[in-house]
Assembly symmetry: C2
Homo-oligomer: 185 residues x 2
DNA sequence: ATTTATAGGAAACGATCATTTCCGAATCAA
DNA sequence: TTGATTCGGAAATGATCGTTTCCTATAAAT
């Protein structure tokens, strides 16, 4: 089931919610049309499940990328690099489900809006935590506004995914990470 | 006609392309359904016209906000503040047509993808020009990588519009601008 | 071997939407 | 005043889509 949901995630990322038909989903998930409606109440339920699956998968990959060791500064850089890696080439063109949902559904669907906000809040808290870790271990200045800096980084990460839809190179995105680290001065 | 297009812009921003029906457009534009098809070939033509109209309006407002005087650093701050102002409250929730188009249409419609890329490139060039102006007038260090910094600012601006869809306050976004200025060190 | 539950797949339904067509009213010219 | 033209607006059309239903085949269970 998770395999099928991963396929659904890719379709929803690339096409958005409204432009994805049930046929698109069954084709990608390799399921019969009847099977989709046996497993899910409706298209929206498939989307919500795909959203949650995407959130879990991305969160795990991000945690792997951050790793356990290193200073707060080093780990924060790894977060930026993780997003830079996802914001170029084919994966960048595919787009981000959170960004797409924010643009397409946040106004109409309160439940989707809540999940989008929760995803962003979670990311912001993660960034804020890493900054505070860096301030504790001395790799980031103690007088820095951790909340505002975390919010800046959150905006930057989401923006990279937007700009990445127009097809940038890995080097272009990696260079952004280097400059962004200057905000930790 | 421009008035009607401005209304269309708002609808497309809020609802996205696929979720806006012709009825939504006629209601917002206060036009008869027949009149829409007398003025435009089809829904996509309305969208492209609205996109161009939005681009022109936003570019003019941005130029007004930047002003003619001041250092490159001061003018760059005004660009960031302009986007912060658009990324909170009701306008922030309404969203950005470029971001929405990038997420929803950039993969399917080459013409839309080109316009999105052109809008981002134009913004990136504007940012790069202001940075170079700042390097010429001494308000921004000369050894700074203007291209990478401009790209960072572009990502940040687009990301602010994404995050702004979840309803942030003016102060939250204004604080991001202050931190972002540190990237010019 | 027979029955029962399960899943795939096709067909049908109802709704919605983009688009076209048609009709009436209003405007303008003669 | 009359006739032509234009424009708003409503109805009709054809297609698509989400959803439901029904049928068949396969596999599990007794």
């Amino acid at each position: 089931m998770n395999d099928a949901l991963d396929k659904a995630v890719r379709v929803f990322c690339a096409r958005g919610y409204h432009a994805t038909s049930i046929g698109d989903l069954t084709e990608a998930m390799q399921l019969a049309q009847g099977s989709v409606y046996k497993a899910f109440k409706d298209k929206r339920a498939v989307f919500l499940a795909a959203f949650d699956r995407n959130k879990a998968v991305r969160a795990e990959k991000l945690q792997d990328a951050i790793g356990a060791g290193g200073t707060g500064r080093e780990r924060l850089r790894k977060v930026l690099a993780f997003y830079a890696e996802a914001s170029h080439g084919a994966e960048g063109r595919q787009g981000c489900l959170v960004v797409g949902s924010a643009a397409e559904l946040a106004i109409f669907d309160d439940e989707v809006a809540q999940r989008v906000a929760a995803s962003l809040d979670r990311n912001e808290a993660l960034l804020s935590g890493l900054i505070q870790q860096g301030q504790a271990d001395g790799s980031i200045p103690a007088d820095l506004d951790s909340a505002a800096t975390a919010r800046l980084m959150l905006c930057l990460l989401q923006g990279m995914r937007v700009v990445g839809k127009t097809g940038r190179s890995r080097d272009e995105m990696a260079a952004v990470v280097e400059v962004a680290m200057k905000a930790l001065a």
